[in-house]
Symmetry: C3
Subunit: 467 residues, 3 copies
């Protein structure tokens, strides 16, 4: 068997001038925009002592930094190591998975600070940023990492940067519609991050459909070591998801509760994932793809409701269902989507983010609609849903309706945005890989010589080496 | 050399119906029990604003969440990545190590929330859970992960779930006896977690003794990459151990002190581990097994005393001793236990958890017995040992005696419980692997095709491939 | 091609008595010195209740532990996993990279607690340690890990311990000169950690110059898996760097600001690293060496100024520049240093730490010199630069001058110290490896048999195995 490597590269994947140009120009743009717009929030500004006096704070520990920084760091790990390594499962695309994720996320967080800042932290012509902005920027980029999962191995780094630019923009618009116009709660982002990110990515990969992708089918699988690397990603996502869902909740009980609910949902999800992974396989063996992915669906699906009084057993039920839905999705839906709908979803984000995200939105709507003053307490009720000011007269059932509306808006925005961005990415100027070179690091990376020849030997053990 | 793979499977390791059934039924049971019993603690409940008023708290930062959540996340990483990857060292059991650890821990934390909740957080018919309960559940499961280390590679996932069910139950009983009846201090769990978990696991593996285990001896070793993966586990356990030992200590100085003592003990332990690893080997080379394991013994051995006034130099002494004891154990005791006592201890938990756990219990007893009001201060003395209410008249030496009693109770409970559970696991219905298939992922996991054949080639480099 | 393994070992690398002796004697010395000098700080001592009263603190949350412990743990991960795994990139030196880093850091933190304690936390004959001391000890060891990067693969573990002993000592002296005598600000250690550590290591490797190092050139590269392992190191350093630069800043706004500035600088740095990695390569492909290293330069270069009012766009500019400087350094400077100046810098610390460290010192001096009461506020200005007591009359421009002086002192101390220590390490008694055995774990480690033969097969696929 001969590996088609350098021959047949009909496509021009030469990055030498295009990629540097995009990176440098865009980074210069970031500097200019940051220079014009971005300043420190009062809690990060050297005038903090005065701020403390104005707000009658007696201790530095009241600085939002101490409420949120540990969660921020956990979220940060999820974005860079969690998503990055989760996608390392492909045998020959580890550099691309972790490296391109690094690149797009590093660009994305800057652009997200600006986009989200204009919508949410804009005061007197300046965006004032603090630790909560950093978390939100990471969240926003999380939705890009999700979409990346659908097109993993099939795009150039420039395409990924272009997608990031547009997706972050649309994310911020969608988030603004949900949080500010619909006054929807979505602290863990079932709708804004997962549903949006997943349908966006699925639409992009649909537009970028490659009929001849089977030419690189031999590379679209894992090897033993790459599956172990991927488990690093899985476990960090799984362990830190309670931080993800609680990171921007209100101080106090809401953060505390969100962490507990997420912990419970994720635990249940592991059990049903294992059950169905074994059950849906003739030999009854476990499939690493399910363990790596479906075990996380429980975290996605309590993203909206975790900070509400979902209760621990409610969380277990959600996790229970999502482990099943997600695993079944990997077994039956992914092949169906590819063969019938021409959606080539490398990481199966439909199973891990799209369906659990929808479930999360629905669970959130129901939990909100079912809220009572009895369960939340009078103050807790108002605080939990922020029923103040213009929203003082909202009832739980109305809130539930708006929550449901948020799901639809997110899906529509994602599909429309994904179609648009997919069309842009289809332009033949971004240096995408040829069909036979998908899922192959060698296209965009200097791959160590030795290893390449080692792998060569493994596939051709009877041929001598020419070192 | 031919690898015996599918032939000779006299044992029925077919999991398709048994494993799903256990997972689903047990998870349903969890949901029902959580529904009946588990609610949020006042600090995670939406009534928090009222709670704050009742307790005269002026800030949300007083919520226990902010005292313990960072430590909780560190402990969480230790359980899932720490223990999971530490056991990845076997060349062909990486999926089982990290995957089964994931499964049993995810089930175990749910059951532990219930069992520990009934004993410790039961109010008016409900278990009220907060972040401290999550930490304790992780701790409890830690003892199961330890026991898993002894039987690693030799059991089916169902056996592991059964063991988890029983061990968590017995853990909670033992913990109740120690903490509530004997009024023993053991914040880092030298006795409740390590001693109990280790002797439990050693007894289980003794009962499950396999006289013909040498049939899979070729797989009971590491390869270069698997040793590096295992170092990820080692380092996360090592780095986060200060969080482990301080996670449930009293707020303020006790948490602070526990972290410092653990930091010191672990540092010293590395030096003596390296010294003895080199010294006990003819060629004077270092052995990865020792570096991966014995370096952690110092954390185990200050589990009881870290929150006491052990002092930094006391911690160094404990770490110094434990690095030696543990390394010597790996070199001399493990082979002895296997050949003479028929204890097949895959990960050497006797050296990493049993002996250091005993030392930890003893050091705790001595440190408690040596406590004086002079060293602790009048208030600090009472607070450190909780000499209030019915225990107001305890003296340090009496406390030391009770601490020592706690060691014996833990060992006895572990041995009796391990014998019982071992007997249950011996029933021929759980799908355990045959002797020649131990330490082999292929029995319970879909292992990627390519990699298998690669490994095959490596072992048979002169045979051509049939791709 | 035959691998020269055991033959030709003119050098005596037998560690059996030397290494244990050093480890045990030095650890005993630590115990004695800790016994004489080290006690708990008031915040970690059981007298904390009295301390609280004396300082009018109303809550345990005011304990410094809660301000700094999460950052401490992040720094701890950077030192042990970050630096350890970053250096795993070599194909046959993974054990040495992560294992020796573990050893030297575990010893170094103990010695650093003493050395830094004598200079900074010495009261009434005792060193009083708390969480800030642990962070500082980790910082100090960080500079040793940096120096280790220059000599990676070319020294024995004893040499590393000897270097650690001296470097920690000199670090503490240099730090004392900068922080106490020059009253310089350097919370993230651009000067004290990076500049000092890098020039120290470069001088050591210069003195230890090996003219025949090309004999092990085949091992001085990476393989596919080792590059992925190294990315774990990279990402943890990158993600947690905001914690590094903010860990010992003043409570409140300074910690908050330092984290934000570092986050921004690092994000920009990734973009320019990618740009120049692609641009400087004929094929336009990305080089993992750059992604693994140069992306971190932005964190180094805001080490001094991150806690100042550098502003987010200022941080972006610094990161922008450093990604370029560092990548260009890897491509052009490292070969130049080796061929012309005989500086064999295994990890390229000149590009990652030396140049960015200098830039960091300069940026810090400029930022300090440019400070105004307008930007900082009256109180903030004094607090930020600690212009109190004998320094009450310092102006920003004078402070800038002292900052600049700090750079020179650090470089001079590093070069002088490195020359001295290099000379000591050149003594033929430490068991250094022969030229042909550099970058080879087999010299000091028991390497798993199977893997060795596997690798052997890969290089010699046509030779049969003798198992």
């Amino acid at each position: 068997m001969e590996r088609p490597r350098h021959q047949g590269m009909a496509k021009n994947t030469y990055m030498r001038w295009r990629l540097p140009l995009v990176c440098l120009l865009w980074e210069v743009a970031m500097i200019v925009l940051f220079g014009v717009f971005v300043r420190f929030s009062p809690e990060a500004d050297a005038h903090w002592e005065e701020e403390k006096r104005n707000r009658n704070l007696t201790s530095d520990i009241e600085n939002d930094f101490y409420f949120r920084y540990p969660s921020f760091q956990d979220v940060h790990v999820m974005i860079f190591v969690g998503f990055g390594f989760l996608m390392v499962f492909l045998k020959r695309y580890g550099f691309g998975a972790v490296g391109f994720n690094f690149l797009l996320a590093a660009f994305g967080i800057q652009w997200a600070l600006l986009m989200q800042g204009w919508f949410h932290s804009f005061e007197k012509g300046k965006i004032l940023i603090g630790v909560e902005n950093l978390i939100n920027a990471d969240f926003c980029v999380g939705s890009v990492c999700i979409a990346f999962g659908a097109i993993l191995g099939k795009t150039s780094p420039i395409q990924l940067l272009v997608m990031t630019l547009f997706q972050v923009t649309l994310f911020a618009v969608n988030e603004y519609i949900l949080l500010n116009l619909l006054h929807v709660k979505d602290a863990g982002g079932s709708m804004t991050i997962h549903t949006f990110g997943a349908y966006f990515g699925l639409m992009v990969t649909r537009i970028l459909y490659r009929p001849n992708l089977e030419q690189s089918k031999d590379k679209q699988g894992s090897v033993y070591q790459s599956d172990l690397f991927a488990m690093i990603g899985t476990l960090y996502l799984w362990m830190y998801w309670p931080s993800f869902n609680s990171a921007i909740s209100e101080h106090g009980d809401a953060q505390h509760r969100a962490a507990i609910n997420t912990y419970c949902s994720l635990a249940a999800c592991v059990l049903t994932t294992v059950a169905f992974s074994s059950m849906l396989q003739k030999k009854g063996k476990l499939d690493m793809v399910h363990i790596q992915n479906a075990t996380l669906a429980g975290g996605v699906a309590v993203g909206t409701s975790a900070e509400m009084m979902l209760t621990p057993y409610g969380s277990l039920i959600v996790g229970f269902i999502c482990g099943i839905v997600s695993t079944v999705g990997y077994v039956y839906l992914t092949p169906f989507l590819e063969s019938r709908l021409h959606i080539q979803d490398t990481c199966g984000i439909h199973n891990l983010h799209a369906m659990p995200g929808l479930i999360g939105g629905i669970v959130g709507a129901i939990t909100a609609a079912a809220a009572t003053e009895d369960v939340y307490g009078k103050e807790g009720f108002i605080k939990a849903f922020d029923f103040t000011g213009p929203y003082a007269k909202r009832t739980p059932s109305i809130q539930g309706g708006f929550q449901a509306a948020g799901i639809f808006v997110s899906v529509l925005m994602a599909l429309a945005g994904g179609a648009l961005v997919g069309a842009i990415l289809k332009l033949p100027i971004w240096g995408e890989p040829a069909d036979e070179n998908c899922f192959e690091d060698d296209v965009y990376w200097e791959v160590p010589e030795d290893e390449e020849s080692d792998v060569y030997h493994m596939h051709n053990p009877d041929k001598p080496t020419s070192p």
